[in-house]
C-alpha cells in the first residue's frame, strides 16, 4: 500500500456495475482463463502466463466467479493507465480470489457495499496500492476491519485460545495433577 492508486469511489462504482455476464450462474458458460488472459493483454501482456492453467483445472465455481469480478474491476482505465506489470495484475486476480472464495460469494462482492469495498481494497492491496487520498495506516486499518478472512481468522484464533485455556484449567483441576508433586522441598 505504498503508492496511491485510483479513488476508491470509482472502483466501488465499477464493481456495482459489473455486467451480468461476469457472474455466470453455472460453470462452463464463460472461459475464465480466456477472460483473464484478455485482462492481461489490456495491461500490455504479450504472451500467456503459465499460472492461467491453474484456472482451467479449478473446481471452485465461486472462486472462478470472483476471478471474473476481479478481472472486470482491474480492466478499468484508471488501472490500465498505470502500466503495472501484467504479472502483478495476475497476482491481484489469483491472490484475492483464492483468499476471499471461502468466505465471500461473488454475487455479494457486487451487491453488498461492504463486500464491494473489501474486494476493491483487496485488489489494490495486492498491487501495493492504496485508494487516492488515504494514508497507508488508514488504508491498512480499514481493510483489516472489512476483511472477512481476517475476521474469520481472529474468531477462529480466539475460539482456539478459549479451548486451550479450558483444557489447561481442566488438566490442572484433575486429581492426578493435584497429587503428584514429588518436590524435595516446599515453598
Amino acid at each position: 500500500m505504498t503508492t496511491e492508486g485510483p479513488p476508491l469511489e470509482l472502483l466501488l462504482r465499477r464493481l456495482a456495475e459489473t455486467p451480468p455476464d461476469f457472474l455466470p450462474a453455472a460453470r462452463g458458460t464463460v472461459h475464465t482463463a480466456a477472460v483473464v488472459n484478455d485482462l492481461l493483454r489490456l495491461h500490455g501482456a504479450r504472451e500467456a502466463d503459465g499460472r492461467l492453467t491453474d484456472l482451467i483445472s479449478c473446481e471452485d465455481g465461486n472462486r472462478l466467479r470472483l476471478v471474473l469480478v476481479l478481472s472486470w474491476l482491474l480492466s478499468d482505465e484508471a488501472l490500465t493507465s498505470l502500466q503495472l506489470p501484467p504479472a502483478e495484475i495476475l497476482g491481484a486476480v489469483l491472490g484475492p480470489s483464492a483468499e476471499l472464495a471461502p468466505y465471500v460469494a461473488a454475487q455479494q462482492a457486487v451487491e453488498n457495499p461492504e463486500r464491494r469495498e473489501e474486494v476493491a481494497r483487496a485488489a489494490l492491496g495486492a498491487l501495493a496500492l492504496r485508494p487516492l487520498g488515504e494514508s497507508e495506516s488508514f488504508a491498512r486499518d480499514r481493510f483489516t476491519t472489512l476483511s472477512t478472512a481476517e475476521r474469520t481468522r481472529v474468531l477462529a484464533a480466539s475460539r482456539a485460545a478459549e479451548e486451550r485455556a479450558r483444557a489447561i484449567r481442566e488438566a490442572l483441576a484433575k486429581k492426578a495433577a493435584d497429587e503428584s508433586a514429588d518436590k524435595w522441598s516446599r515453598e
Binding site: A161, R164, A165, A167, I168, R169, A171, L172, K174, K175, A176, A177, D178, E179, S180, A181, D182, K183, W184, S185, R186, E187
Partner: protein, 451 residues
C-alpha cells in the same frame, strides 16, 4: 482425597521391587505416622533421561552475567515468550529488549494462569503447585513431573557448596520433608534418579502420630540423609530426642534467623542451608558466607526500583525474574514481591539484604522510622522460628512469636530498637498455622500496596 482411578503404576511408572519395598518400609513401619495422601514422581523412562540430562546441565553451569548485561540465552527466550505465550503475545512490542518489556506480578498469574502456558506444549501430564498466598493472591501453577524432579538438581548444587554429595540409594531414605502444622498433606514416594531412595513428607504435629514419641522412633529408623522444611518444623525437629544424624538440613519458606540456624547446626552437627525458593520459580538462591548465591543458570535476576527501573548494584529493590526451569510457566520480568540488593563477585551476581515482601516501616517512640530489616537484625541472636510484628494506628506494637522465647532478652532487644517508652505487647503461642505475614503496620502502608 486421593483419586481412586490412580494406581501405583500411574504414580511411579518406573517402580521396581526394591522401590515397592521402600514404599512399604516408609508406610508400614510400626511407628509410621498417618499418611493422608498419595503422591508419586510420575517419571517415565524418557522423563528420567531428561531429568538426568538436566542435572548434568545444572552441575556444569554457574549463573553468570556482568552488571548491565543479560545472559546469552535471553534473546531466544524473549522471542519464544512473545511468540508462543498468550499473555506476553498481547504486548505487541517491537524488538526483544528485556528492559522495555512490562513486568508481571503475582496478581497477573493469579488472574489467569492459563495465559502463561505456551501454545503447543503438551498438557496431558500437567501437575499443579498450589499456594494459598499470604498476599491475597492464591496460585495454581501448571508444572510437570520433570520440573518437580528438577528441584533436586538445585539442592545438590547448594549442598555441593557445603561439601556434601548426596549418596543415598536403594534401600535408604534420601529425604524427609518435615512440616509442623495442624494439618498438612503427607505422603511417601521414591526418587528414581537416586535408585529409588525413599522420600517422606511428614507432619511433626502430634495429631498425625499414634504416639508423639513415635516421631523420634520413626525418624531414627528411617535415618534420612537430609531433611527439608521450614524453621518452625526444624525447631520442633530439634526438640525430639533423635539420635540419627542427617547430613544437612535445607530450610525454605520462611526467614531463618542466624540464632536458630546456629542452634540447629549445633543440635544436628550438620550444615543448615537457607534456600530462597518459590512455587513460581523453584529454588532461586541459597545462603552462604553472608550472601545469597543464585542457583539457576537460566534464571535472570533484576532488582527494580518502585518505578520499574533497574536499581544500581547495592541498592535494595524488588527481585524480578526472567527465565526459569518450568517450561509451563516461562517468567518474563516477574516481580516476586521480595526485596534484595545485587552484588557481584567477578561475573557472578549474588543477592544481599534479602527480605520477603515490600519493606514495612515502623515508628519508634521518638518518632524515628525504622525499616523492618532492622527488626530482623535485632532478632538475629534469638532462636525464633516464626514471629510477626504489627504496629497499630496509635503506634502500639504487638510482637507475636511461636514457641517459648527468652523474654528476658527479647523484650530488651525490641525496646532498644523502639525506645523504652514504646507501647509493646509480646504474645507467645505454641505455633502459627502455616505462613503468616511477618510485618504489618496501620501507620505505614507503603509495604502493603503491592501485596
Amino acid at each position: 482425597m486421593n483419586d481412586p482411578d490412580q494406581t501405583d503404576a500411574d504414580r511411579y511408572p518406573l517402580l521396581t521391587e526394591r522401590g515397592r519395598a521402600m514404599l512399604r518400609h516408609l508406610r508400614e513401619h510400626p511407628a509410621a505416622p498417618l499418611y493422608r495422601r498419595t503422591s508419586g514422581n510420575r517419571l517415565n523412562a524418557r522423563d528420567l533421561e531428561q531429568v538426568r540430562a538436566f542435572e548434568a546441565d545444572v552441575a556444569a553451569h554457574t549463573p553468570a552475567w556482568q552488571p548491565g548485561t543479560t545472559p546469552a540465552w535471553m534473546e531466544d527466550f524473549v522471542t519464544h515468550c512473545l511468540a508462543d505465550v498468550p499473555h506476553y503475545r498481547r504486548y505487541q512490542m517491537p524488538g526483544t529488549n528485556l528492559h522495555t518489556l512490562p513486568t508481571v506480578s503475582r496478581a497477573d498469574l493469579s488472574r489467569d494462569i492459563t495465559a502463561f502456558v505456551p501454545d503447543g506444549l503438551p498438557i496431558d501430564r500437567l501437575i499443579n503447585f498450589r499456594t494459598s498466598g499470604t498476599t491475597g493472591h492464591p496460585l495454581l501453577i501448571g508444572s510437570h513431573p520433570t520440573v518437580a524432579a528438577g528441584y533436586l538438581s538445585f539442592h545438590r548444587r547448594a549442598l555441593r557448596h557445603y561439601g556434601i554429595e548426596l549418596t543415598a540409594g536403594a534401600g535408604e531414605v534420601a529425604v524427609v520433608l518435615a512440616g509442623f502444622q495442624r494439618r498438612c498433606f503427607t505422603y511417601v514416594s521414591v526418587t528414581p534418579q537416586m535408585s529409588e531412595a525413599g522420600l517422606a513428607k511428614i507432619n511433626l504435629h502430634p495429631d498425625d502420630w499414634r504416639d508423639p514419641a513415635d516421631r523420634a522412633r520413626y525418624l531414627d529408623a528411617m535415618n534420612p540423609e537430609m531433611y527439608t522444611g521450614d524453621p518452625v518444623a526444624f525447631a520442633e525437629l530439634a526438640s525430639l530426642p533423635l539420635t540419627a544424624r542427617p547430613r544437612a538440613l535445607l530450610s525454605t519458606s520462611m526467614t531463618l534467623l542466624p540464632g536458630l540456624r546456629a542452634q540447629l547446626e549445633a543440635r544436628f552437627r550438620c550444615p543448615v542451608i537457607d534456600v530462597y525458593s518459590m512455587n513460581e520459580a523453584g529454588p532461586v538462591a541459597f545462603a552462604a558466607d553472608g550472601v545469597w548465591h543464585l542457583l539457576q543458570h537460566r534464571l535472570f535476576v533484576e532488582i527494580l526500583d518502585p518505578d520499574g527501573n533497574p536499581a544500581p548494584p547495592g541498592t535494595v529493590g524488588e527481585v524480578t525474574l526472567t527465565g526459569g526451569f518450568n517450561p509451563w510457566l516461562p517468567l518474563l520480568r516477574y516481580r516476586t514481591g521480595d526485596f534484595a540488593a545485587m552484588a557481584w563477585h567477578d561475573d557472578q551476581p549474588r543477592l544481599t539484604d534479602l527480605t520477603g515482601r515490600a519493606p514495612v516501616r515502623f515508628r519508634t517512640a521518638s518518632g524515628e522510622w525504622l525499616n523492618n530489616i532492622e527488626v530482623t537484625h535485632a532478632l538475629q541472636r534469638h532462636a525464633l522460628a516464626q514471629w510477626t510484628l504489627h504496629q497499630a494506628a496509635d503506634g502500639t506494637l504487638t510482637f507475636s512469636c511461636a514457641g517459648q522465647p527468652d523474654l528476658t532478652t527479647l523484650r530488651p532487644a525490641l525496646e532498644e530498637l523502639f525506645g523504652p517508652a514504646a507501647a509493646l505487647a509480646i504474645h507467645t503461642s505454641a505455633a502459627f498455622d502455616g505462613k503468616v505475614r511477618q510485618y504489618t503496620s496501620d501507620l505505614d502502608d507503603s509495604g502493603q500496596s503491592r501485596a
